[in-house]
Amino acid sequence: MVRQYTNDRDEAFITMYKLRYKYDTSDFHVGISSSNIPMIDIDINDMYLVFKLAYKLSRKYNCDVGIFKTEKGYHLVLLRKVNNLRKFYYELYKTELRNYVDNMQFRVGMSWGENTLRISKKSKAPKLIAIVR
């Protein structure tokens, strides 16, 4: 996986276009990466779930949460700084997101040093559909 980091915006885009030209593909993109700002990539097209999660995170961490619509799902950006991003993701993984983050995906992502928490449909997780009394 090719990853090049830079502080300069123009440099990033020039690098992207150079790589696109060199390898004759449009598969190179520019993104934003931060080791302090939590970003959650949700590949589930469930608006209610995303707003619910955003609301919970907003209340729990006392901050605003930005929601972006992507092709596959949504991006959540917590608008605050966090000292230890990995610890923060681990807490989320163990609490709010326990039914959505795949164990192996989480471990691999963190070991690769990713600054984004990825959420996709977890097939094995049981989902509450009703309570009968």
Binding site: M1, V2, R3, Q4, Y5, T6, N7, D8, R9, E11, A12, F13, T15, M16, L19, T25, D27, F28, H29, V30, G31, I32, S33, S34, S35, N36, I37, Y48, F51, K52, A54, Y55, K56, R59, D64, G66, F68, T70, H75, V77, L79, R80, K81, L128, I131
Partner: protein, 87 residues
């Protein structure tokens, strides 16, 4: 007498009021102030995907501790895949 255990799958979340509040706070509405002051910074910049919106958002909240990353993400479209399979 045993006490019945109370179960609520959506703890402290009231979608009727709170969800509306969040939806009302659309990006355009509360970023409009930021755009007025920050618009000049982005004159002539390349607008790609959500980068610009995210930059504006982070700038608005005074969060400037980030880097740009160029990454490779191959995308094989279904039609291209079918084309390959047919050939």
């Amino acid at each position: 007498m045993t006490k019945r255990r109370k179960y609520s799958p959506t703890i402290d979340f009231e979608p009727e009021e709170d969800e509306k509040k969040i939806i009302d706070l659309s990006l355009d509405k509360w970023l409009s102030e930021a755009l007025e002051t920050k618009e000049k910074q982005y004159d002539g910049a390349i607008v790609v995907d959500e980068i610009t919106d995210l930059e504006r958002l982070l700038s608005y909240y005074g969060l400037n501790d980030y880097k740009y990353v160029v990454y490779y993400s191959p995308s094989i479209k279904l039609m291209e895949l079918l084309k390959w399979l047919v050939w």
